[in-house]
Amino acid sequence: MDFAFTPEQEAFRAEVRRFLEGEIKLGSFAPGCDAWIIGHSPEFSRKIAAKGWIGLVWPKEYGGQGKTYIDRLVLTEELLRYGAPVASHWFSDRQMGTAILAYGTPEQKAELLPRIIRAEIFFGIGMSEPGAGSDLASLQCRAQEQDDCYVLNGQKVWTSGAHAFTHLYLVARTDPDAPKHKGISELIVPMDLPGITINPIVDLTGHKHFNEVFFDNVRLPKKYLVGQKNRGWYQIASQLDFERSGIERLMSNYALFQSLFEYARQTRRDGRPLSQDPIIRHRLAQLAIEFEVGRLLIYRVACVLSQGKAPNFEAALAKTFCTHFEQKLACEATQILGHYGTLLASSRRVPFSGYATSSYLFSPGYTIQGGTSEILKNIVALRGLGLPSE
């Protein structure tokens, strides 16, 4: 066992930090919560790309760096620590590129991976539908073969940042007559095709990064099919593990976490710093401990990946724990702030940029998106522990 990073990894971390601090000084971004979901900045992503930090673990032949998943962990941990606006390339880097590497044709790899790595194209995910949430396999969005195209009709929903992506990684039904798990395919959809309409959904914080996406006879050339037709359900599983295992499930609100401790040290209430209130000390220490436990659960997944193995229930397990932590953080932070914890970011008198309130309003989604905690616990029980299904 070794819980330390290598000197090379530490040096890499220092390099990432220097870069990000430099960018903050330049005013290229201000640290924020949930920046990996809502912080879209193609310009910033291009800076990241210029550093070679997109596709860090991908093969060099496509422009990747061939580094390990531990290196990627170091990178993503720092990007999250600084709340950098990395949403544009996040999904591509986390799971789409990996899916293309696993199932794409040589042409797809050659065409798409270098462009992802150069931050020329950005991928979103089109999975959920109004009738297909946890029960993803019941999705109804149709992709019907017609000549040299798939004709797309239907609706996706809760599509993060749909307006900001150049491409959507879509799961659609290619065989309506097959059993529901056996008629699904994965497709890449350029967002500039005619027939795509995007309707924003306003989330609890007032942001509009979730969307409904409608497809009305969208003609998608067949070359955009990824992997085997009708095998999408089986291809998607590993992608979901990537979706669930990243340290963004723990550190979405790192800006809040850090600010809260600072606030508790510096703010006096009833004649002493908040941090001297034994109940608040206790709450903060417990948060710090849970953060540490969550971090280790995520590190473990990176270790599994770095050994070339696929994470399985470990990703489900880590996401369940960590997203619960994020909700608890939001809840404790707003409680410690008291009245101040009800003020919106836009309000006068709001402490540390309203992170606490934003986080309280955004955090219900953490245990839902990317697999609800219930589905994930089912996975841990069935796949991880071998319990019998119903």
Partner: protein, 377 residues
């Protein structure tokens, strides 16, 4: 021992529920979140006509002669409906404080106007420390002839923007004990030197920062005894915490009902999600919390209604209900899944109010400390 409402109270509840379902749809609630006033005057007029704004005042002051328990029934339904506007501020924080502390003359002049819906009030207690202890009051009032002159800043003053009078708690004498030397003043909200700056909150309630800069208040507007205001403030806090608790019960009840309905309607994996044991147990947990909240909150309201001291009952209620309501809205989010994660969904309204309700008039930690003191710990 009887856990049922009286027949009259049941009628009041039903009437209130129906009225609010018609007159206060969620569309209105959302509109009022971004409305400067925060309530439609027309609705206020109707509530006054129904006798709600005077419900807990004696008939001789133009009120309905109802009890605090009667008022609680109304508040519960207001919580269910997420009623916007200054009812709580005017009636609970304002009117009941005047009824408690005011001189006969003050009551005669003000309570009938409140009952008629002509006068809006609120309370300015909290200061930048955000806490509820006597030592947090730094706002000062010094005597100057026939007036007192107020200096200081109050925060989180609900509905200050529409209030005609603001009841302000201020320090009128220095003392080694922070509980001594406090007084309450009925301040004309349009006094020179008084300014209101809006705060923006997640529940869209209308909170303000109120600054008092040399605000002159006539001696006659002193509420209760000079320098001995703290006992009155404690009673205000007790009433408000109990009232907020029953209001939250209404919200919790509504969240339970809408969640159970959704669990019955929403189909995944070919069956209603409410047929999954995990969802069933979440709903059961919510039902347990709703009942617990209801009884502990109503016991506090009942005790106050009976004129008992009720400190323990109120603190038990506020500590429990505040946290349970918040817990319950979080569970509801989990059951609703993504669909609840938009501002257009009603759940948002309750989720935000649960957090605000948990904080205001003392959170769980605050009231646990009250309970600990009550237990002689």
């Amino acid at each position: 021992m009887n856990f049922d409402l009286t027949e009259e109270q049941e009628m009041l509840r039903k009437m209130a529920k129906d009225f609010l379902a018609n007159e206060c749809p969620k569309k209105l609630v959302r509109e009022m979140e971004v409305d400067e006033k925060g309530h439609p005057p027309e609705l206020w007029r109707k509530m006054a006509e129904l006798g709600w704004t005077g419900l807990p005042f004696p008939e001789k002051f133009g009120g309905g002669g109802g009890s605090f328990l009667d008022l609680s029934v109304l508040l519960e339904e207001m919580g269910r409906a997420c009623l916007p506007g200054p009812f709580f501020s005017t009636v609970v924080l304002g009117g009941l404080t005047i009824l408690d502390l005011g001189s006969e003359e003050q009551k005669k002049s003000l309570l009938p106007q409140i009952a008629q819906g002509k006068l809006l009030l609120t309370l300015a207690l909290t200061e930048p420390s955000g806490s509820y202890g006597a030592s947090s009051i730094e706002c000062r009032a010094r005597a100057d002839g026939d007036n007192f002159v107020l200096e200081g800043t109050k925060l989180f003053v609900t509905d200050a923007g529409v209030a005609d009078y603001i009841i302000c708690v201020a320090r009128t004498a220095d003392s080694a004990r922070p509980e001594e030397g406090l007084s309450l003043f009925l301040v004309d909200a349009h006094s020179p030197g008084l300014s209101c700056l809006p705060l923006e909150t997640m529940a869209g309630d209308k909170q303000y920062e109120v600054a008092f800069k040399g605000v002159r208040v006539p001696r006659g507007n002193l509420l209760g005894e000079l320098n001995k205001g703290w006992a009155g403030v404690k009673r205000i806090l007790s009433r408000s915490a109990a009232a907020k608790s029953v209001e939250m019960v209404g919200g919790a009840q509504q969240v339970l009902e809408m969640t159970v309905q959704y669990a019955k309607d929403r189909v995944q994996f070919g069956r209603p999600i409410g047929s999954f044991q995990a969802i069933q147990h979440y709903c059961a947990n919510m039902a347990i919390d709703v009942d617990g909240c209801r009884f502990v909150a109503y016991k506090a309201a009942w005790a106050l209604s009976e004129g008992m001291p009720a400190t323990m009952e109120v603190s038990a209620a506020k500590a429990w209900v505040g946290e349970a309501y918040r817990r319950l809205t979080a569970l509801s989010h989990q059951i609703h899944g993504a669909i609840g994660f938009t501002k257009d969904h009603d759940l948002y309204l309750y989720y935000a109010r649960a957090k605000t309700g948990e904080t205001i008039f003392g959170d769980g930690d605050f009231h646990r400390e009250m309970v600990a003191q009550g237990l002689g710990l």
